[in-house]
Subunit: 289 residues, 4 copies
């Protein structure tokens, strides 16, 4: 039996894939309604993280931020109060490496095994089981959940000891946030100089200087419609975590820090819950703002 | 007869391709030695830009910056003193759009036709005739030189009136400079957090968040060897031109401006004449500096 | 007879001080209405810059930007068409040093003497004759107009050859723009952390870390009322000129470049014609925006 | 009896002032040698923070960062193991507000009273008893130590509940770091444009656009000699704490974040232990670097 806690945009789709590939699943979420379609397809419901931990051998968590993770594991009804020794906790949340290392320590001190295994990819790859798992921890633990990860993703990349999965994830989300922001500025410049906006976008996306990941955001940008796949507020938090790690490790990151603040300005301007590609609206030279 | 003025890293390879595809060529360069291999293969030498203009129907220029372009055209022995009415000048230099528009006016007022036609791609694509021409001016003038451009490149993209080729080029070089700088910061962060540097580089380049153009710089970065294909000082100048155009058109570009200054710091630290990918050394967390 | 061209916020008050201290004045402005109060007090009107130049021995100009200066001097009815040899032109406009040096050359080549003499201080110091003149050119020319400058200001500071007055002015306006922007961020941080906004402002202004010039903007900031003394759009232009000079002289200026872009975002958000202290509204953590 | 823990550049001078004004003192420091001159003048030595806590009614701490504070209070021989109920701990360290609030909770939960009371001013003001205390906590607790603070400083400013002293301190150190960095860029620009470096420095420091605090750094900058009064690495940490607080409270701080990274680059270039005014060397246009 596999446990799954956290059924948001990502988690619900990951759990769905586990279920559809034949794994037995016990799930928990802050609001039960979000679990309904999984329950309809045969997943069991647990009233608390502790109950998930008691019923499952491996528990995956996919949560919004470190403080929610802490709540889920340390609460009276939390994971740690349900786990028996030797069980395995796989945290897929995007958190900072220091936090992952702390969770590893806390788990290990209770005899529980731990993997940090954040994923790359957002809503659509989660749905299509095309995520990539970035794993930190013991390689043998990873091998134990390989089949489950393969049910949810297309690739598994071992990064080293605990915290290293989280580290690689920060690097990738930093790249993603930068790619979108610098593209937005470039498009705004082109438009400001009198070039045709759509032509600039198409030319850049067809060429070698734009990150391929941007292609998936093309329609949103052209239609100026930013229903959230990866909310701007989360991307901005990841940029913060990346720059925090930069500070802690003595790595100057002038560009990342500015980009983070431009997303902060966009957040403040009301785009917080929109898709992070809404930074293109904030930076648009034609924007009313 | 085609004229070609400016036989640097790019120009010499472009001229070579024209020659090898059978076009008759008359060339001029500030230092004659750089023309020697072309002369050996049958190109004619001209002692001045004016002489090139007198002998050729179409003249391509590929020069380092606006002030050199001005010298080449306005000098006593300059292009404008050799051109007869109706001839066509194609400027492939990367300059700012305002300058291109000024050159168009100056040319037109003398009865000379003008295309701004900067190219994307650096040393290797120039050698392999894989450049892309970004053209501003009259479409019929572009069609007249289509065969020649095809001899030097793989694509021709019409952008609109004079200045629009230069505009699109600025947008693309902005993207290129940003791509390299944000990649360098991300790699430095990964390394600083304890990830394996080579693994980070490979993971990012294989994924969707890195610009494909970066792949061609992978060996330089891994070997920390930056023999110039596109000197950092030129890329930094292009970032300046992009932000200048941003100012002139009321487009805020906070990220581009910071990136420009990080290249400026790298330039000041002694990397001016290295390849622009040397920004990765400047930003490396392990760099001695 | 002294000539004065450009009767905006600054120029009208400077001319008024010349007049009230007993100097004979001939004035010109794009719109005649702005000259009316001066004419009522005894100034002569001239229909063109050329007419000013014909009537006056020394001509002061106080204009918004280089292209207006060019128009005023080079037009058919411009200054240069009215000046006879040996006359003195004193340009108090804030322009970039390269432009001042070009004006000096153009003037000298016509036998006209030239001083670049931008001033520090805005509306109120202009009114109270408390400006500081930053002068580039020949010291003997400066001495010739010393009495006139003393009528308009409280100090005259010789900076060196032509262009050096403009250079020092850029440095000072850079400092001013930075002082206001970093103060605004600090106040926003204090307020965001729960400190009392007014107490933060008072504590900072009373302490040694805030530029004294900010005290004059305290009421505007507290009342969130930004009637223009020094319009944000002009300050932003001066930051651009400063960073342009930085580029041209190989001086990395990462912070100035970001500040410039934050003013650019504020400009785009509709604060262009407000006082530059309106950057505090743009950066306020409580701002609706 | 007053306790004092942390006898670095600041703490040793503060303790000295308490002693010389007649207060009985018991001190502790990681290395005993640094306490010697105080012991010679009559201070008692304690072998551990716990021993200080047992002997004193009020304990001042002046430590380098949060993790050292945590060690000093939570260790087996720490403050909390020596304090009896009702005693008062005054933390003068510069830490982030969230940390101060956490310390307040930890202290209060043990029946211990707590003030966060960071100071403005560095080495010289510490020596001359010219510090300003920024106090968060209960006003009556502050009044209890008013005489002691007056022995070490010239002003006491109550900011509100626990954490607010730390908050105001962050705002002030942010202003200080910004003032020095933007001044350094402006001087570099002036020098780069050909102005006399010393004249630029004197002109700016005499005018209204430079923070008065910079005057105390003039000799260091002119002599390019940066023996530490306030080490650059500490200032950079404070900028990090300020931007962290900005993130946590949703306050965009684009300029502060860039400035922080420029100090980070300076730190990496080898200026970490120099006075923070060494940023002027890093940004100097004439610097060899």
């Amino acid at each position: 039996m596999i446990g799954f806690i956290g059924l948001g945009i990502m988690g619900s789709r990951m759990a769905e894939n586990l279920l559809s590939k034949g794994f037995d699943l016990v799930v928990h979420n802050r609001t039960k309604e979000k679990a309904q379609s999984l329950l309809d397809k045969g997943a069991q419901w647990a009233d608390s993280p502790a109950e998930v931990a008691r019923k499952a051998d491996v528990v995956f968590t996919m949560l919004a931020n470190p403080s929610i993770v802490e709540k889920i594991v340390f609460d009276k009804d939390g994971l740690f109060n349900g786990f028996s020794e030797g069980k395995l906790w796989v945290d897929c949340s995007t958190v900072d490496p220091a936090f992952s290392r702390k969770m590893a320590q806390e788990a290990n001190s209770r005899g529980i095994r731990f993997l940090d295994a954040p994923v790359t990819g957002s809503k659509i790859p989660a749905e299509k089981a095309e995520l990539v798992f970035l794993v930190g921890g013991k390689e043998e633990d990873m091998n134990e959940v390989r089949d489950m990860m393969n049910a949810m993703g297309k690739d598994i990349s071992f990064q080293g000891e605990n915290g290293m999965g989280a580290s690689m994830k920060l690097v990738i989300n930093l790249m993603l946030g930068q790619a979108m922001a610098v593209f937005s500025e470039a498009v705004a410049l082109g438009e400001g100089m009198g070039l045709d906006r759509e032509k600039v976008i198409n030319t850049l996306l067809a060429g070698p200087t734009a990150a391929p990941a941007l292609k998936g955001k093309k329609d949103k940008i052209l239609q100026d419609e930013f229903s959230p796949e990866f909310p701007l507020v989360h991307l901005q938090k990841d940029l913060y975590l990346a720059t925090k790690a930069g500070f802690e490790n003595g790595v100057p990151m002038p560009i990342a820090n500015v980009t983070k603040e431009i997303y902060a300005l966009a957040k403040q301007s009301g785009l917080s819950e929109q898709d992070f590609s809404a930074i293109s609206r904030f930076l648009s030279s034609k924007s009313a703002k």
